[in-house]
Amino acid sequence: MSDQPLADSVAPITAAAPSLGELFRAFALVSISGFGGALPWARRMIVEQRKWMTAEEFNETFSLSQFLPGPNLINFSVVYGSRFGGAAGAAVALAGLLGPPLVIVTILAALYAHFGDLAVLTRILGGIASAAAGLIIANVAKMAEPLFRRRWNFAPFVAIVGFVAVALMRWPLPYVFAVLAPVSVALAWIWMPRR
C-alpha cells in the first residue's frame, strides 16, 4: 500500500475500478464464504485480495453502512457498488451478495417445512440456537468495551435504557427508537469535545 503514494489523495475509486461482472462475482463469493457474519470476508476480499480499497477507506465506508438502518452488509454492498458503478453497480453488488444465500436458504426453508417436526432436527437446531445467542452476547461484549470504558459517557446509559425497553418491557422498536435515538444524538452532540 505504501508504494502507492498517490492513492490517498485521489478519490478511492481510480486505482482499480472493478467491472460490474467482477463486482458481482466478488460479492457472491463473499456471501457464500461468510458463515456467522460475512464482514471479515468482505474485508479480506476487497482490501487484501482485490485491493479495491485501502483499509481506511473500507472502514470509512463500512461505518456509514453500519449506522444506516437496515442490514449492515447489505447497506455496504449498495454503498460500495454505487461508488464504482452508480445504480447499476449497487444493484449488481447487492444481487451478488443476496442471490446465492437466498437460493440456499429457500431450499433449507422448504426442508424445514417438511421435516421441522422431526425430534432429531429440533434437538440439533435447539443446540445451535443456544450457541447463536451466545455468539451475539460475545459481539455485544466486544461492542460495549470501548463505550463503557470511557469515564463520564452517555453511551452506557443509552444502551441500558434501550435494552430494558426492548428486551424487558418488550415495547415496540419504532417507539423506543423514536425516543431514544434523538436523545442519544443530542447527548452525543453535548458531550462532543469542542474544536
Binding site: 438502518p69 424445514y112 440456537a129 443456544s130 451466545g134 427508537f177 435515538a181
Partner: protein
C-alpha cells in the same frame, strides 16, 4: 395492519422494521420475535429459534432469517416479499445517503449522529441476545451452551461453525 393478506402484512412489517434496524439485522431480532410470535402468531417460540439457527448456519448475511420467516408464513412468495420489504427501503436510503455523506465528513452533526446511534444499536443487539436466549434456552444445559459460546467467541478466534457443530451435537445427544 392488514391481517387478511399475509403478503401485505409481511411486506409492511419488515419494511417498517428495517427503518429502525440500526445495528443490522441482529438489532431487529426482538421486534421480529415480538411481531412474528406474540402479535401475529405466525410461529411458535421454538420455530422462531429454529429459523434463527438455520439462518446462522447458512452462508450469507444474517438478515436471511427474514427470508425464512417469510417462507414459513407464506411459502416462496412470502420469502420474496419479506426479503424485499426488509432490504428494499433501506437499500434506497443507503444509495441516496452515500451520495452526499462524504461531503459532510467533518460536520459536527454528522459526528453526533454517528456517535449517538452506536449505543442505541448496542442496546438493541443486547436485547436480541436476551430474547434469543429466552426463546432457545429451556434448561440448564442450553443456558450453559449459550454461556460457553459467548466465552469462546469473546476470548478466541475459533470459527463459529465449529461451535455450532459442537452445540448441534450436544442437542442431538438429547441434553437440551
Amino acid at each position: 395492519m392488514n391481517d387478511d393478506n399475509p403478503l401485505i402484512a409481511l411486506f409492511g412489517y419488515f419494511a417498517l422494521l428495517s427503518l429502525f434496524a440500526v445495528g443490522g439485522a441482529n438489532a431487529a431480532i426482538p421486534e421480529m420475535h415480538r411481531v412474528a410470535v406474540d402479535v401475529m402468531h405466525w410461529m411458535s417460540d421454538r420455530q422462531f429459534a429454529d429459523n434463527f439457527a438455520i439462518a446462522q448456519i447458512s452462508p450469507g448475511p444474517n438478515v436471511i432469517v427474514v427470508t425464512l420467516i417469510g417462507y414459513h408464513v407464506a411459502g416462496l412468495a412470502g420469502a420474496a416479499v419479506a426479503t424485499v420489504g426488509m432490504c428494499g427501503p433501506t437499500c434506497v436510503m443507503a444509495f441516496v445517503v452515500a451520495r452526499f455523506w462524504d461531503r459532510f465528513k467533518d460536520a459536527r452533526w454528522r459526528i453526533a449522529i454517528q456517535a449517538g446511534l452506536v449505543p442505541v444499536s448496542l442496546g438493541l443487539i443486547a436485547a436480541s441476545a436476551f430474547v434469543l436466549a429466552r426463546a432457545a434456552d429451556h434448561n440448564v444445559f442450553a443456558a450453559l451452551i449459550t454461556v460457553a459460546t459467548a466465552a469462546v467467541a469473546y476470548w478466541s478466534k475459533v470459527n463459529p461453525l465449529w461451535v455450532f457443530l459442537a452445540a448441534g451435537l450436544v442437542g442431538l445427544a438429547g441434553w437440551l
